[in-house]
């Protein structure tokens, strides 16, 4: 059984989507043991004992993740089908590159296909999140906004 089917069918976590059958579209991206993976190309058994974050786990205690906020603020989604995978892939980018250029964002999202937005607002959303995440880490403990 593929990880994506395990998440969707066994765990009822249907936020992760299936968009293709050749590992290209990225709609199924989740985080497994700290790395973004395409859940359609991982067997559930390979994830045994692992730690997985799906889109349902991105908001914490009712607070949206800065990427979720960014996609909302910047109209980075239309039909929403590619969005969970797009957010998970973007999260991976920002972990390794907290201040990416437009070109770097576009390159990093090469494995995620969107048919609705033309990507421009997705880039803006990721830039928004990057800026907010940098500001948060720079804020003093117990202070700031």
């Amino acid at each position: 059984m593929l990880l994506v089917h395990y998440l969707r069918e066994e765990l009822d976590l249907t936020g992760t989507h299936i968009g293709c059958d050749t590992s290209q579209c990225g709609a199924c991206v989740v985080e497994l043991n700290g790395d973004a993976v395409k859940a359609c190309t991982v067997l559930a058994v390979q994830a045994d004992g692992g730690s997985i974050t799906t889109i349902e786990g991105m908001a914490t205690e009712g607070n949206l993740h800065p990427l979720q906020e960014g996609f909302w603020e910047k109209h980075g989604l239309q039909c929403g089908f590619c969005t969970p995978g797009m957010i998970m892939a973007s999260a991976q980018l920002l972990k390794s590159n907290p201040n990416p250029t437009e070109a770097e964002i576009r390159k990093a999202l090469e494995g995620n296909i969107c048919r609705c937005t033309g990507y421009q607002n997705i880039v803006r959303a990721v830039q928004y999140a990057a800026e907010h995440m940098r500001t948060e880490t720079a804020a003093p403990v117990g202070g700031g906004e």
Binding site: T14, G15, T16, D21, H75
Partner: protein
Amino acid sequence: MLGTPIKRREDPRLITGQATYVDDVKLHGMHYMAVLRSPYGHARINSINTEAAKKHPGVKAVFTAADLKGVVGPVACAVPLGKITEGMGIRGPLAEGKVRFFGDPVAVVIADSRYGARDARDLIEVDYEPLPAAMDVEKAAQAGAPLLYEEFGTNVALSLVLEGSSEAIDKVFEETLANGGVVVKERFVNQRLIPNAMETRGVVADFNKSAKKLTLWSSSQIPHILRNVLAATVGLPQHQVRVIVPEVGGGFGSKLNIYPEELLAAFASMKLGRPIKWIEDRSESMSSTIHGRDQVNYIELAAQRDGKVTGVKIHVYGDMGSYCQLFTDVMVLAFMFPVMCGAYDIPHVYRATDLVFTNKASTDAYRGAGRPEATYAIERGMDLVARELKMDPVELRRKNFVQPDQFPYKSATGTVYDSGNYEAALDKALAMADYKGLREEQARKRAEGKLMGIGISTYIEACGIGPKGFAPVGLYESARIRIEQSGTVVVQTGSSPHGQGEETTFAQIVSQEFGIPIDNIVVQHGDTDATPEGRGSYGSRTTPVGGSAVFTAAQKLKEKMKLIASFMLEASPSDVTLEDGKFSVVGSPQKTVSFEDVALTANLSNTLHPSIEPGLETTSFWEPTSNVFPFGTHICVVEVDKDTGRVEITRYVAVDDCGNQLNPMLVEGQIHGGITQGIGQAMFEGAIYSDDGQLLTATLMDYAMPLASELPSYETSSTVTPSPVNPLGVKGIGEAGTIGSTPAVANAIIDALGVAHIDMPFTSEKLWKVIHQQ
């Protein structure tokens, strides 16, 4: 509230993974359907043996065409034309006797698991006798081609010359030449595209045997039309069918249809009395969801020496694929030919077409649906004229534009354009792009041996369908507004947005009309039991037509509320105003009753004046008197690498006019997405079949979707020329980006290479060959 780029109310559920798409629907006792499809492009079916499949563990049923006879009607074709009226191209949901395209459904398996259904499907034995396939539309139209429908003796369903004969246009062309003018001729291919919405199609059918009620979840753009046609096809009254369209992951026209699988899932559920789910995988989708475009055009334009175009002549071979889906046969006649003259005041037009069946998937509406084909032809044609006359393509267009004082403008095609100011959009785009500077840069780069191209497209399109008579069922739209006793406003629309954001836009309309916070407004859509009779979302109609229905319903309730308030305020209704959610009397602003006060009074009724009917609910049906005509100018700048043929879009400027903009952020989003699909056609995409009918581009490995890393950021702006057709002054914008962009990109690349014409897509290999042949 209107005109503000507020963020979308749809988004919270989508960004948190809480939204329900059809594959997220899980019902108790649900079984799964798998479809056995033809691996051949054209073959006779000699026999089908389903015995082994039926015996597979978990399998409840296996159905073929024989099981559907007399029970399920044919797949719907909205407007049969020519030989289609005699049955050509019409078929039941499963193939009978022959398969006619790679992916043609032959049988279905119903099993208790998704995997089991597929395993059992592999056990079905079909004895096929492969036949030669008709894969080229021009060859398929000729005598001696392999025939899809032998009984009709041809693959041509319809041959038509709209103007009756070419006598008039030939005379115009002769006169133009005699007066020193030019005639340009070219053959264009508008290649077959695969829409590839990110969510493939899917359906869950649930027939309740005791209530005799069928509920169908479908990833569809047309809940009510689907309900009505499905009911008729499976023999149920309309009120015993409920269609629920949940979240839809993109449509672009490919889900503006009624598919065999929807009929089959319904049939299976009715037969077995349990819910049946079918979800398409991507390769199934690419072979059997409708394809877009696919035409060969022969075009001729005549122009005077001074650049005035005197006539355009076009012959279109329309490749319909193998069967009629809902609008397969009307793309050319209903959508392309009416806008054949584009943004130009061209006095004479000649339009001829052959609509041909071939052994490919059915073609039907795909973002633009006929208007991209017309726009590509006329915009490429204008560039050919400019090239022949050695005239700047911008100046040629300017010289031929319909002028602002000509609106409403009746084209030589008979179509009346509502409003426009084409030169204003052009000038704005030229300024944004610094066109003069670009041409200077191009001259410099050419001197250095670089291939820089500038392409322009000044387009119009016809959308916001449509007026009476445009389609066999009137394309009005509906809105029911109910104001609850708390003052919360519930809007139920017959529109079916799937990413365009009308849950937000419609709430903005209502918020503006009532002066109440947008958070007090809810917009619902998609459930045919909870919305009035509607027509769905396609043809860039949701805001112009659906929004107008919402506006009209809001006006009706506003008047009733003013009347109720007039009694509460002891004033004459004509002296009552509504502003910022408060009713007050002109001249005595301190005396007010709130929107919520009036809502409570109307709903509770005990203190409502007896002359007024209780409640606060109304339904409006709004029908346009005309289509609406967005327009704009796109300028594309490219550099082509001489050594690799690779194209880089260095700049993309778009100025689009969709009339009033209710939410500029959503408008811009539609333009971005539209441009990207247009670039996709120009540079990357194309559905390719082998000579014997195999779909070679059947996965995303072979069909190149535009990726973030391959695209530039677009510079977008707008002009605003309101439409007189609807109370909001809006035109649709969902397709305009796609319509305007493909020719801009094509013209840019062809300009870079300095040749007369190259067909799309402009792959590196193709351009390299052209460069190295020069």
